[in-house]
């Protein structure tokens, strides 16, 4: 009997030794085994629950993990299915959000309407809550926001303070209150809609010419400008007092020099004139190139350029267009710039009564010059879109306009679609951009990469570009998922130097394409992150998704 007991004991010891060795191996190399809540508490890769509190870095972790595994119903002696690292990471993030919402007042800052403000970007998220109770819906919505938040950077970004958020909210609410009054003033008082020769608004209080307030069309004066004016008055005008009339007269504003130049290096591009000339933009570009070249010479100039880049990047992110709200369609965008100023861009604008233009593009390179070219291309497309119901024709005219203006090594790849929502059609042309992906399980084939011919903007003056460009029209049906990405997605590489490529993207779209657009983009982003592993991102990433309901 003693012999059998000893044998049994020996077998148990051997089994335990093997289990410990296996656990140590998995902890050493398996990503699913290395997920920590709040960077400390170890998550079981099988059940996804916190199994070891404060386990990270502890030499006892293997033993503590084994103690948990023995009680875990999903372990099954290593025969259970481990959760995907991305799934565990998502659980961790959501648990962390819940934790912070409960313990950190910074995560519970709301405006007067109860709308939550992100502790990183300070912008309002799509979350409204009246009490401090943290529900699953709130956590999901905040998680969704953080996935898109440029300032959060996957948790690496710097959080703001409560005071900062409250100041942002106070300013935003003040701006909101001012907008109706400014709309009324801009529609009735010439002093409030005075513009310089480049159609830029001049502030009747501080007499500053606002580069970003474009009054070149009545539509802009009525729609965008009042919000921008309110922003200027609240955030940057030194002379504005709500109950005091402006100090300047129309004559004062007219006397402002037409050639007043903004601080060197700040990327705000003057609106191109409707006649298609781009002298202002060209001057900006030349000035920037000079600055870039000079910046290599002195530390002071480098610092100046760095400040300008930061301003430009902030401005670029603040100017991201709102997603269209069209019944029967769902729009979603994921925009993740790599450099301070990104070469990726997207935009939506009205083309006709029933049609909107949808643009996604990528300027070669990053930084100031890419940012300027990006603004130029966007503005050209927008100006030429008015009443132009051919996507290809708009690209042709835009290419002709910008060709002379681009440096020889700079080009822009652009996809442009004109969506007619009532007719459910999309006219699409592609200037050297990645294909348009169409997925619908009810179609045959279910997945298609639509790639009409086209050359990037800015490399051919006209003959080859015009001859090559093709346009297709897609008849949209319910369940269609249209996906457009920039090359930062397809050319992302992993440690083995493999590219993510169309096949992996197609696989992810086919796997998650039935879900809502936001979820699909989130899953592509996660898959891309998993694929990339520890390899750093080398390019901006932008994904635009349209779902036909």
């Amino acid at each position: 009997m003693a012999f059998f007991d000893k044998l049994k004991e020996r077998r148990i010891r051997e089994q335990e030794k093997r289990t410990r060795e296996r656990v140590c191996q998995e902890l050493a190399k398996n990503l699913a085994w290395n997920q920590y809540l709040l960077g400390r508490s170890w998550l079981c890769p099988y059940c996804g629950k916190v199994a070891v509190e404060d386990g990270k870095g502890k030499s006892e972790l293997p033993d503590l993990a084994i103690a948990h595994l023995k009680t875990c119903p999903e372990w099954k002696e290593f025969n259970g299915i481990t959760r995907r690292p991305a799934e565990l990471a998502e659980s961790i993030k959501k648990a962390e959000i819940t934790h912070y919402m409960k313990t950190n007042p910074l995560w519970r800052v709301r405006d007067s309407a109860g709308q939550w403000h992100c502790p990183y970007c300070a912008r309002p998220g799509e979350v409204v809550f009246a009490t401090n109770k943290v529900t699953r819906e709130i956590v999901e919505a905040i998680y969704g926001h953080l996935q898109r938040c440029y300032a959060y950077e996957g948790g690496k970004g710097a959080a703001q303070t409560v005071q900062y958020l409250l100041t942002v909210i106070e300013k935003a609410e003040r701006q909101k209150r001012l907008v109706p009054r400014i709309e009324q003033l801009m529609s009735s008082d010439p002093l409030w809609r005075f513009k310089d020769e480049k159609s830029r608004w001049a502030c009747p209080y501080c007499r500053h010419i606002a580069n970003d307030v474009d009054l070149s069309s009545e539509l802009l004066v009525r729609s965008v400008a009042p919000r921008q004016v309110a922003k200027h008055l609240v955030e940057s005008c030194p002379d504005f007092k709500e109950d005091t009339p402006p100090g300047a007269t129309l004559e004062d504003l007219r006397a402002l020099t037409a050639g007043e130049r903004k601080q060197a290096g700040i990327v705000t591009v003057a609106a191109p004139q409707e006649n298609g000339t781009f002298h202002a933009i060209r001057a900006e570009l030349d000035q920037m190139r000079t600055l870039l070249s000079e910046s290599k010479q002195t530390d002071e100039r480098q610092k100046e350029l760095l400040r300008s880049l930061e301003d430009a990047g902030k401005q670029q992110r603040e100017m991201l267009p709102d997603l269209p709200n069209i019944p029967g369609f769902e729009f979603e965008v994921l925009f993740r710039p790599m450099a301070t100023v990104s070469g990726d861009f997207y935009d939506f604008f009205k083309v006709g009564e029933q049609e909107i233009g949808i643009v996604l593009g990528d300027v070669s390179g990053h930084g100031v010059e890419a940012g300027i070219v990006m603004s130029m291309v966007k503005k050209c497309l927008k100006i030429h879109s008015k009443g132009q119901n051919s996507a290809a024709e708009n690209l042709r005219v835009t290419n002709a306009d910008i060709f002379e203006e681009l440096a020889q090594s700079t080009f822009a790849s652009v996809s442009y679609g004109i969506l007619n929502a009532p007719a459910r059609t999309l006219r699409f042309a592609r200037a050297g951009h990645t294909p348009l992906f169409l997925f619908n399980p009810a179609r045959a084939p279910q997945f298609a990469a639509l790639e009409p011919k086209g050359i990037v903007l800015g490399v051919d003056k006209g003959p080859v570009f015009n001859r090559t460009l093709e346009e297709i029209e897609i008849k949209l049906v319910s369940g269609d998922m249209l996906m457009q990405v920039t090359d930062g997605v397809l050319e992302a590489t992993n440690a083995k130097k493999e590219e993510f490529g169309i096949e992996r993207l197609a696989g992810t779209i086919q796997k998650y394409g039935n879900h809502e657009a936001k979820y699909l983009l989130h899953m592509i982003d996660l898959t891309l992150g998993e694929f990339r592993g520890k390899s750093p991102a080398e390019d901006d990433v932008t994904m635009l998704c349209i779902r036909v309901l």
């Binding site: 390179g365 090594s409 050297g432 130097k497 750093p536």
Partner: protein, 123 residues
């Protein structure tokens, strides 16, 4: 990524091999700028960019490639690609610039074509 230079029949051959990673992009761009700077009126430079052993061509360097081609052609010279693989062709086709970049199936073909165009003796 490795870059090697050679001469054959008066034609400059720049051979690229390996994989162009993010850190190689600026090195390759500089190399293409060097080729661009060879363009001088009256001395038409003929260059073959031998990509037989190159795995990929990031779109980030295509701008510099086009600039070098334009500069050399502007001075009466040429720059062509030799033996681009399928992945490189996909990038050139996607950007639509395959029509602006002459390419040959092999290094020999590229050298022969440039030599014949110039009237210089072939290999």
């Amino acid at each position: 990524m490795e870059i090697k230079e050679d001469q054959r029949a008066g034609i400059r051959i720049v051979a690229l091999s390996g994989r162009v990673s993010g850190t190689d992009v600026s090195r390759l761009t500089e190399q293409l700028e060097t080729l661009k700077n060879l363009a001088r009126p009256g001395s038409p430079e003929r260059v073959v960019l031998d990509v037989t052993a190159l795995d990929n061509l990031p779109s980030a360097v295509v701008g510099a490639l086009l600039e070098a081609i334009r500069a050399l052609e502007g001075a009466g010279g040429r720059l062509v690609l030799a033996a681009p693989n399928a992945a490189i062709m996909v990038v050139l086709q996607r950007l639509g610039v395959n029509q602006l970049v002459a390419s040959f199936k092999s290094l020999d073909e590229a050298v022969k074509a440039l030599a014949a165009a110039d009237g210089a003796p072939g290999q």
